[in-house]
């Protein structure tokens, strides 16, 4: 493997550090009464409001529909995710130093598994909050209405337009994956060229 490729694999790994400084995912809630904006940010280790007190505001709004309040400290994923991210970074750096093509493939597979697991978990979490409502005490009950925010993209939830998109941290993760994938493809082509050349 070329030194340049190795370097890029390490850069890819370091990019993941951005998830400590920026949110992975942002859910923007748009309604006429909130011209100043309202939203949630999902970080690798916490959930916060997009602005001061947004989490309290969202929890208060959610009590009308019987949704559970979001208490970030009681969400186990937020404790696991930092370790997964650290592991991925560590493996990435090792692969970069070692410069083995097969190791890179393993890294990519590992990455895809983590990403899929993450998305499934995130979806299930959203599904749980959006569907398991305290129907008994809910103030607003609309038959058939669920309140699950979209995984990605936008959706009307009562008077709110919920727009769910990757945050800067999320884009860093995507960029990191694309970096590794490109290196894998380039190296694969390189190897194939060498193979054909040697034939």
């Amino acid at each position: 493997m070329k030194t340049r490729s190795k370097l890029f694999i390490i850069i890819g790994a370091l990019l993941l550090a951005a998830t400590y400084y920026f949110p992975l995912w942002v859910i923007d809630l748009q309604a006429p009464q909130y011209p100043e904006g309202l939203g949630l940010e999902i970080w690798i280790n916490r959930i916060t409001g997009a602005h001061d007190y947004d989490l309290q505001k969202v929890n208060n709004l959610n009590h009308y529909i019987g949704m559970k309040a979001i208490y970030p400290e009681s969400i186990p994923e937020l404790k696991v995710m930092p370790w997964v991210m650290r592991a991925l970074m560590l493996v990435g750096i090792i692969v970069g130093i070692a410069g083995k093509r097969s190791w890179l493939t393993v890294l990519l597979i590992l990455f895809v598994i983590v990403a899929i697991a993450g998305f499934i978990d995130y979806y299930m979490w959203g599904y749980d909050y959006g569907h398991n409502l305290d129907v008994e005490n809910a103030i607003i009950k609309i038959p058939g209405q669920s309140y699950q925010p979209p995984l990605i993209g936008s959706k009307m939830i009562l008077n709110f337009k919920a727009v769910s998109l990757p945050g800067i941290g999320g884009w860093a993760v995507i960029l990191s994956f694309l970096t590794w994938l490109s290196i894998a493809v380039i190296e694969h082509k390189q190897a194939r060229k060498q193979y054909e050349h040697s034939k």
Partner: protein, 649 residues
């Protein structure tokens, strides 16, 4: 008798007169044209360019308008109780209206004055005077809330107040009505012998907190208005006075006899030095100093003495500048060189020169002395007189481009004139009888000279009639061109004496939207529904109630008895902008509460008869606002109903 020719003549004359009247009307009604409408139109959802603060006069409050639209944005309660939000009724704010005379629910507010940095309004605080029971209030422009009121001892009628020095070193106060100092039971006819005036300098800390630094004992005249020096005249303050005749009755006639009264030039830098040298005596005093503490609860402290300087022992502290005919306003131009007097009965506008004043002092060009205060020669200090400006000059503001604008009460007009040449360049009518006038920053070192507002005393036919009492009219003129152009009329509250305005950008960024619950250290605050409770302490019942959309916790309370004093401590758990909750209970002889997000307020209720009484939220807060209610059961005096309440599980 009438031949055809004569009839034609009369007919033509009438037609001609009608034509003149029509022309007259169209000239008069320049406002309301399409061009003027465009200049004052602020489209829905857009902001005004300026915040304007109007004194509420006899309403005791301050109103906030946007300019150029003239829209009313808020009424800030200051010197009067305001049942609308509980100001002066709730336990937190009651002390704000305490004085040495006890609780006073009203006053007459005259002059709003923005705090300044380097001689320019800085948007931190607004000061305003109470004329009747002498006080100065400070409003915090982060929350648009009265946060401090200090009473001025040894004073009667705090009119020349609360004008600031260029860095809020001091706000000033003075007696419009001289009184015996210290107060005493003396014959009113002994005025000349026993009555004195005071000029008070109140120190303003970096936090805004006020403290009476010193008072200067002055001859018993009527001290009317003030402005501080700036630039070269920094360190001086100027006060007009009338009634140098020292009349004690029928002042209308008896105080109008002298051709000239005075502008007092006070060297406050020198006063500081005299204080440091210990040249003061300490007079007993009794005044209140009220301020919001860190828990947002008004504390009322009593002041018991004050440092007093006597000009007799303090040479150079004060000089009198003779000024024609009972001067009212005294205004210092942006350069700090010119001191404009508003001789309300004078036919000219007299302008004094600061530099000439200083050389006149050096050359001892005095014409006389009053109680140790040298009177300078008029000719030695005069910079010029504006000739034929109209009648009844009162107040002058500046546009920062070399022009001055003076209000003419008697001839109902604004006169624009040039500083230095003293020539009148434009005059426009006002409707009617203008008092103060205001240009944003127009009394500062750097005016935003875009508009002048006329604050008129008489309204008559300007609006739809509303019975004998009419709203006072403010009028706004564009002053960006050579000619002043009337743009807008708008009604105001009470009698707005003076107003000040500041670019919105200097205020809007600092606005408090909520009070963080974690910073709420009110002794009766509860931070969650789980902590809400009701406790009995003798015949006092303390209900610690929380509000959040859309319920009270607790909302059922039993065990209250006739004869109890019930304290409702309401904590608003909301942390969302513009979501206050109200609290009102049937039969309360106090007021309602409006509790801001994250704040705690307390109102007292003394139930008179057994029964069950509803309480509810008065500020529409959510779709289920109508459900936001509760009940208090009141049992007869001496019954055994235990305290019982519910909290949400």
């Amino acid at each position: 008798m009438f031949n055809f020719k004569n009839i034609c003549m009369i007919g033509f004359s009438l037609l001609f007169l009608c034509g003149l009247l029509l022309i007259g009307c169209s000239n008069q009604e320049v406002g309301g044209t399409g061009d003027a409408a465009r200049k004052v139109y602020v489209p829905p959802g857009s902001y005004d360019e300026f915040y304007a603060f109007f004194s509420g006069g006899f309403s005791g409050q301050v109103t906030v308008h946007g300019l150029p639209s003239g829209r009313l944005l808020k009424t800030i309660p200051v010197f009067s109780q305001n049942a609308e939000n509980g100001y002066g009724y709730n336990e937190e704010s009651k002390n704000m209206l305490m004085t040495s005379f006890g609780f006073i629910p009203w006053d007459d507010a005259h002059h709003p004055e923005l705090s300044q940095t380097n001689g320019v309004p800085d948007g931190r605080w607004l000061f305003i005077n109470a004329n009747n029971t002498p006080r100065i209030a400070r409003i915090d422009l982060k929350s648009f809330e009265t946060t401090e009121i200090i009473q001025i001892p040894n004073s009667g009628g705090n009119h020349a107040s609360p004008f600031v020095t260029p860095n809020n070193e001091y706000v000033v106060a003075s007696t419009r009505f001289s009184v015996p100092i210290p107060q005493a039971d003396v014959s009113i006819e002994s005025y000349k012998e026993n009555f004195k005036g005071t000029i008070t300098f109140i120190k303003v800390e970096e936090t805004g907190k006020m403290e009476i630094a010193f008072q200067i004992l002055v001859p018993g005249f009527n001290y009317d208005l003030s402005h501080s020096g700036k630039g070269p005249s920094f360190g001086w303050s100027f006060f007009t006075c009338y009634n140098t005749e020292q009349a004690n009755n029928l002042l209308e006639v008896n105080a109008s006899r002298n051709d000239k009264d005075f502008i007092a030039a006070v060297n406050w830098k020198l006063a500081e030095q005299y204080i440091a040298e210990g040249k003061f005596r300490t007079l007993d005093a009794n005044y209140r100093h009220n301020y919001l503490d860190e828990n947002h609860i008004a504390k009322s402290e009593t002041g018991e003495s004050v440092k007093v300087l006597d000009p007799q022992n303090c040479p150079g502290l004060i000089y009198y500048l003779p000024t024609p005919k009972s001067p009212h306003g005294v205004d210092v131009d942006p350069t700090g060189e010119y001191i404009v007097g508003g001789g309300k009965l004078a036919a000219v506008i007299p302008v004094h020169s600061f530099s000439k004043m200083i050389s006149a002092i050096e050359n001892k060009e005095f014409e006389s002395e009053v109680d140790g205060i040298p009177v300078l020669k008029y000719e030695s200090v005069m910079a010029g007189e504006v000739q034929n400006p109209g009648l009844g000059p009162l107040h002058t503001e500046f546009d920062g481009k070399g022009y001055a604008y003076t209000s003419m009460f008697l001839s109902s007009e604004i006169t624009k004139w040039k500083l230095g040449t003293w020539e009148v360049v434009d005059r426009v009518p006002t409707y009617y009888s203008i008092g103060h006038l205001m240009i944003p920053g127009g009394d500062s070192q750097s005016p935003w000279g875009k508009y002048v507002i006329a604050l008129n005393k008489i309204t008559k036919d300007r609006y739809l009639p509303t019975g004998p009492e009419l709203a006072h009219a403010a009028q706004m003129y564009d002053i960006t061109g050579d000619k002043m152009e009337l743009l807008l009329d708008f009604p105001t509250m009470g009698e707005p004496h003076y107003a000040q305005a500041i670019p919105a950008s200097l205020v809007m960024e600092n606005q408090v939207k909520i009070y963080p619950l974690e910073d709420n250290h009110h002794p009766y605050a509860v931070k969650s529904e789980a902590e809400s409770k009701v406790e009995r302490k003798g015949n006092e019942v303390h209900a610690y109630i929380t509000t959040i959309r859309t319920h009270f916790s607790p909302d059922n309370i039993e065990g209250v008895k006739v004869g109890d004093k019930v304290y409702f401590h309401i904590t608003n758990l909301e942390q969302d902008w513009d979501i206050p909750h109200g609290f009102a209970i049937m039969g309360a002889r106090t007021s309602e509460l409006l509790v801001m997000p994250g704040a705690t307020n307390t109102i007292v209720w003394e139930p008179q008869q057994p029964g069950v009484y509803p309480f509810y939220c008065t500020d529409f807060c959510s779709a289920l606002h109508q459900e936001m209610q509760g009940y208090v059961r009141v049992s007869p005096r001496g019954s055994n109903t235990p305290i019982k309440f519910n909290t949400k599980k």
